[in-house]
Structures are given as structure tokens and as C-alpha cells.
């Protein structure tokens, strides 16, 4: 699954050591620093990261709106690093939709094919087909400003899909929609991607969106690609504290490696598996580490068993209840417990907590 940088026919986009620096001299800002990534053909790939992490810059380099300062970008084996955007078989769904206000929905959708010099009959057929795909057949003659936000979004999608690009780039296309519409469009996008088989590169800062839609996710921060993997890999085995923190909720506990496990500040020993792609060097037996623990991997029981803790806050969330727990060394962690499970605890109550050691991720301190 992991792209190894080898050029072969199943790789749609291959970015190698791509860097982008804006400005020069002292005012130079590196938006991208040496990013390498291989995106498979037919894959739904998500670039995930906070704003300003370089994900949009990378997307714009693939689209051709920016030229990388260093490195190369290959599309299906062809070097397109310096190809102008209108000569790349790549289309973009813009965050602002960027629909042409003077053209009808049908003319917007047919724009790309028309520019490619396709005969009017073929364009009309393709437009009808793509509009049916996004369920906007009846809106063909409307102007963009006569449509709702969600409909404009579909037009933008149809317009980018109509020329049947090799790769479809989506720049936070759902961020302007309200929650309900966003959920609808998420499954819609997933459906379209499966139906068309086109490689999707999706940029978002919404980790939930990334987890539910993608085949693979690339997590970015400060111009660097931190981790590439399936949603499961990213969630269960984050490679560092940033990824663990950015994807879902995570508790961080400090500890030291001690024999077969990690000794916490409280003195309790957690028998976490010290293997796999760990970020920490394991040679030093007493190395300081950070443990990333998901709130759902913590179970509560009556005091005496497990690690001693006191409940400092309890929030009822419907199906779950979130407990904030104070440990004996002064640190706090959050546990998510199903509301209808064993028992409920009140603030101030002393409990014992057990942690699913196999699910704990060991990170650099």
C-alpha cells in the first residue's frame, strides 16, 4: 500500500522532494519542504492538516497553479513539473467553487470539453451524462447564482469531472456547506469516486472527513508530510504526537521505558508492546517516552484495581459519558465510557482505571 517511490503504471501522481519557497532572502517562507508522495491510480487520497500546513500548496503544485521551487511531479509517469495548468489532464474543484457567473450550469459543465475542442454534440452528451451523475439534470439552464450552495458545489464537481481528468483535485470543497449538507456530500463524493474510478486528491482540515472518506491519508504539518497511511493506521498508530493529537482525541501520559513496559509517573507499569515502527530509540532502557492513549481505550472500575484515579469531571454526552480523571502524579486524562455500561461515577469518586495496553502508542517524549 505504501508508495515506495518506484514509478509504475498504477501510480497516478508521484511527487518527489517537492519544495516550495515564497519570496527570497530573509523574507523567504517555506510553504513546502521536501515532500515526497505517491498516489495510486483510482485512490481516494486525502491531504489532512491544519491551515497553513502546505496541503493546499501541494495541491496547487499538482494542479499547475504553482511551480515547485525544487523537486518534480510526475503524472502517470510523465514529468509535469513545468507543464502549464491548461495542458494537464487534471481538474480542480475549488473551495470557492469559482463557477463562471455568466454561463449557465450546462455551459459551465461543458466549458472544459469545449476548450479541448470537442464537437458541440459530444459536449452536450457529456454534460447531460455528468449532470445526471450529480443529479442536476433539471438545472441545466439556470445561472449559478440561482442555485443553492449545495447545488453550486455539485456543479463545480460536475464541471471538473466532465473532461474525465486522470486526477481530480478537491480543495476543501465542503467547508462552505452546513453540517447536514456536508455529510450528504461526503457520501456523494465517495460514491462518485467509486463510480468514475478517477483518482481523487482531497484537501481538508477536518479529520473526521478524512477518516470517513479516504483510502489513504497524508497528514501534513508545517510544510512536511508526517505520516501516510490508511485511516485505520493513522488513527491506531500515529507516528508522533502531532498526528495523534490532530486525529481524534488523545490523552498523553509521560513515562519511562522500564523492562517489558513503560512506567508511568504514578509508578504503575503499563505492559505496552515495545515493537513496530516506533519513533523512540529503545536501546536506552530508561528512555523517557510519551504514551498516546485514546479515551475509548480506558476502562473504569471500582477503586483498588488498576491505576488509582479520582473523577474530577463527568459530562454526559448521550451514548457516551466523558470522565476527566486526576491521577496521583497530578496529570489528567479523559476516558470515554458507554453510558449504559457497568456503572456511573460521580465527581470526586475514587476509581481504578485499566488501559488496553496493546492499543497504546509509544511516542517520543
Amino acid at each position: 500500500m505504501q508508495g515506495d517511490g518506484q514509478l509504475n503504471s498504477t501510480i497516478a501522481v508521484d511527487a518527489r522532494n517537492v519544495g516550495k519557497i515564497y519570496g527570497n532572502g530573509n523574507s523567504a517562507v517555506a510553504a513546502l519542504g521536501d515532500v515526497s508522495i505517491s498516489i495510486q491510480q483510482g485512490e481516494f487520497f486525502t491531504l489532512l492538516g491544519p491551515s497553513g500546513c502546505g496541503k493546499t500548496t501541494l495541491l496547487r503544485c499538482i494542479a499547475g497553479f504553482e511551480t515547485p521551487t525544487s523537486g518534480t511531479i510526475h503524472l502517470s509517469g510523465t514529468d509535469i513539473t513545468h507543464t502549464p495548468p491548461n495542458e494537464r489532464p487534471v481538474n480542480t474543484v475549488f473551495q470557492s467553487y469559482a463557477l463562471f457567473p455568466h454561463l449557465t450550469v450546462a455551459q459551465n459543465v461543458g466549458f472544459g470539453l469545449k476548450m479541448l475542442g470537442k464537437p458541440a454534440g459530444d459536449v452536450a452528451k457529456a454534460v447531460a451524462r455528468v449532470l445526471a451523475l450529480v443529479k442536476l439534470e433539471t438545472f441545466a439552464d439556470r445561472l449559478p447564482q440561482q442555485l443553492s450552495g449545495g447545488q453550486q458545489q455539485r456543479v463545480a464537481l460536475a464541471r471538473a469531472l466532465a473532461p474525465e481528468p486522470e486526477v481530480l483535485l478537491l480543495d476543501e470543497p465542503l467547508s462552505a456547506l452546513d453540517l447536514k449538507l456536508r455529510k450528504e456530500m461526503q457520501s456523494e463524493l465517495k460514491r462518485l469516486q467509486t463510480e468514475t474510478g478517477i483518482t481523487f486528491i482531497f484537501v481538508t482540515h477536518d479529520q473526521e472527513e478524512a477518516l470517513t472518506m479516504s483510502n489513504r491519508i497524508g497528514v501534513m504539518s508545517q510544510g512536511a508530510l508526517l505520516q501516510v497511511g490508511t485511516p485505520h493506521e493513522i488513527y491506531e498508530h500515529p507516528v508522533n504526537r502531532f498526528v495523534a493529537d490532530f486525529i481524534g482525541e488523545t490523552n498523553f501520559l509521560e513515562g519511562h521505558i522500564n523492562g517489558a513496559g513503560v512506567r508511568l509517573g504514578t509508578g504503575d507499569l503499563l505492559e505496552v508492546p515495545l515493537e513496530g515502527p516506533l519513533e523512540v530509540p529503545l536501546d536506552g532502557q530508561l528512555g523517557a517516552v510519551t504514551l498516546a492513549i485514546r479515551p475509548e481505550q480506558i476502562r473504569l472500575a471500582a477503586a483498588v484495581t488498576g491505576i488509582a484515579a479520582t473523577i474530577t469531571d463527568a459530562t454526559y454526552m448521550g451514548t457516551d459519558t466523558h470522565y476527566t480523571l486526576g491521577l496521583s502524579d497530578g496529570s489528567h486524562i479523559v476516558a470515554r465510557v458507554q453510558s449504559n455500561s457497568a456503572g456511573t461515577y460521580g465527581v470526586g469518586e475514587a476509581v481504578g482505571l485499566s488501559i488496553d495496553a496493546k492499543a497504546v502508542q509509544v511516542l517520543k517524549a
Binding site: P85, N86, T92, F94, A98, H102, F111, L116, Q145, A160
Partner: protein, 301 residues
């Protein structure tokens, strides 16, 4: 209910009372002179100047036709027609020249950072503060035989004798293009300023070349600004008086000069009034075309 009704009515009456000064101004200062012009155009011309209060179609007749003094045969007034034609031709040329020069200028200004933009716009509007006569004399200084252009070209050895620009249609065109350029730049700037530049990226992304983006995306979207600029330059060009008078000399007349001639040496006020009304009608028609075109293209206003 009844009271409310009365209140509304008195409010309405007050409204009329309050708008009286504006109405008076409109009736006497705006419509009045126009009505006088319209009236004079259907009167008989006076012996030396002015009018005689006798209804006559002669003023309007002579807009397009002339009657031979000796045999009374009616023919098309070639002189008038050639003046009309020159006016329209020069006005269209002025409009096109200002558009070709104005579009890149307006684009340049609209794409500057907001702070510098005001400065560039200020530079564009500076000529408005100077008297038209003085600006026209400045152009004369540039194009006349001993002027800047000819002197420079001769010093550079490119020409041996000065090129005659003064007192030609070219001189009038240069002068009018210079005078009316801001009237093209400003509405174009306003349109480009509202233009969403991300649409250009969308165009490139959808396989359009630079030329196709200009023709298929930019120009149609800034069309209201283009039409506004065309109208704002074309209308005053058509009625231009000072510039063609000074740069075109006596013989390269435009409608404006021709009208002035009728009220002066020509001593034919009805013809002058009829010509003025024709000019006004052309302007009105242009305005209607403009309003139609802009309201259809830009429903948001």
C-alpha cells in the same frame, strides 16, 4: 384606520411640498433649455440670427438635405453628411483606442495592492482638474510640426521633414483619446475590481489558453464596465467641440463645431437646434442600449 389613512395622505402632501425645490430645478434648469432647443428647431430662422416665431420644418429639413438657391432642387447635404460621418468615425475610433489603452491600464490598477491602488486612480483623475483647453494645447505642443514628437524624430534622424499631424483627423483622434481615456479607465477599473480572479485559475484548469480565458471568461464578466466605458467615451466624443476645433483646424469639423457654426457665423439657429436635438437623440439611444445591456448581464446591479 381612518386616522392612519389621513396621516398617510398628509405625509404624501408634505412629500410633494418638500420636493418642490427639486422639481422646480428639474423643470426650469433641466427640461426648460431642452424645450427651448426643441422649440427653436421648428421655427423659422431670423434675418441675421435668432428666430422668427413662425412654425417651419426648414431647420429639420436642412439637417439632411439642401435646396439649390437657383433651381430649388433638393439634394442630400453632402457637407453635413460628411461631418456626421467624420464625427461618428472619430468617436468610434476614440472609443476603440481608449479601450485598447484603458483595459490594460485598468487591469494594472485593479491588480495592485489596495494601498497603491488609490494612488494610481488619483493619477488617472488628475487631468480632470485641468482645463480642457489647456490639455488640448498641451497635445498641440506634442503633435505640431515643431512639437515634441517631430523634433525628437528629426533629431534621431528617422525623418527629414516633420510629419503633418496637426489639423488632421489623426490629431483630433489623439487629442480626444487623451482627453477621454479616464472615462474609459474608471468604469473598466470598477468592473475588474469586482472580478473574481479565481475564475481565471478555473479557466486555465479547464484547458483554456490565455486568449480563451480573456475572451471566454474575463471580457464577458466585465462587459457592463466595457459598455459603460464605451458610452462614457462615445457620447462626449460625438459632441466634442474644443478638441476638434483646436487640433482639427477649421476644416475637420465635427457635429459640435457644426452646431456652433449654425449659432455663430451660419446664423441659422433652427438648424443648429435641430442638429442639437439629433445629437441628443443619438445619446439617448446609446443610453437605452447601455441600460438594457447592463441590466441583462448583471442582475445584481
Amino acid at each position: 384606520m381612518k386616522k392612519q389613512h389621513r396621516q398617510q395622505r398628509s405625509k404624501g402632501a408634505n412629500g410633494w411640498l418638500l420636493s418642490t425645490p427639486a422639481l422646480l430645478l428639474l423643470v426650469f434648469a433641466a427640461s426648460g433649455p431642452l424645450l427651448i432647443v426643441a422649440l427653436y428647431s421648428v421655427l423659422e430662422k431670423g434675418d441675421y440670427s435668432g428666430v422668427r416665431w413662425i412654425l417651419s420644418g426648414d431647420g429639420w429639413f436642412r439637417v439632411l438635405f439642401e435646396r439649390d438657391i437657383f433651381d430649388q432642387t433638393v439634394s442630400l447635404a453632402d457637407a453635413n453628411l460628411s461631418i456626421f460621418w467624420r464625427s461618428v468615425k472619430l468617436s468610434i475610433a476614440t472609443t476603440l483606442v481608449t479601450f485598447v489603452l484603458g483595459l490594460p491600464t485598468a487591469w494594472f490598477i485593479a491588480t495592485r495592492p489596495a494601498r497603491v491602488r488609490a494612488f494610481w486612480l488619483f493619477l488617472i483623475t488628475i487631468p480632470f482638474w485641468t482645463n480642457l483647453l489647456i490639455r488640448t494645447f498641451a497635445i498641440m505642443e506634442v503633435v505640431r510640426n515643431e512639437g515634441i514628437v517631430n523634433t525628437a524624430l528629426m533629431k534621431a534622424g528617422l525623418i527629414s521633414a516633420p510629419i503633418q499631424i496637426m489639423y488632421t483627423d489623426t490629431a483630433v483622434l489623439i487629442g480626444m483619446a487623451y482627453v477621454y481615456l479616464p472615462l474609459m479607465v474608471l468604469p473598466l477599473f470598477a468592473a475588474i475590481d469586482r472580478f473574481d480572479f479565481r475564475l481565471i485559475e478555473a479557466g486555465y484548469d479547464l484547458y483554456a489558453s490565455r486568449w480563451q480565458v480573456l475572451r471566454g471568461v474575463i471580457l464577458p464578466i466585465i462587459k457592463p464596465g466595457i459598455i459603460a466605458g464605451f458610452i462614457l467615451v462615445f457620447i462626449p466624443s460625438l459632441g466634442a467641440y474644443v478638441t476638434p476645433r483646436l487640433l482639427g483646424g477649421g476644416k475637420n469639423m465635427m457635429i459640435g463645431n457644426f452646431i456652433e457654426l449654425q449659432f455663430g457665423q451660419g446664423q441659422n439657429w433652427p438648424l443648429g437646434a435641430a442638429l442639437s436635438t439629433v445629437l441628443l437623440l443619438i445619446v439617448l439611444v446609446s443610453r437605452v442600449i447601455y441600460t438594457r445591456a447592463s441590466s441583462r448581464d448583471n442582475p445584481h446591479g
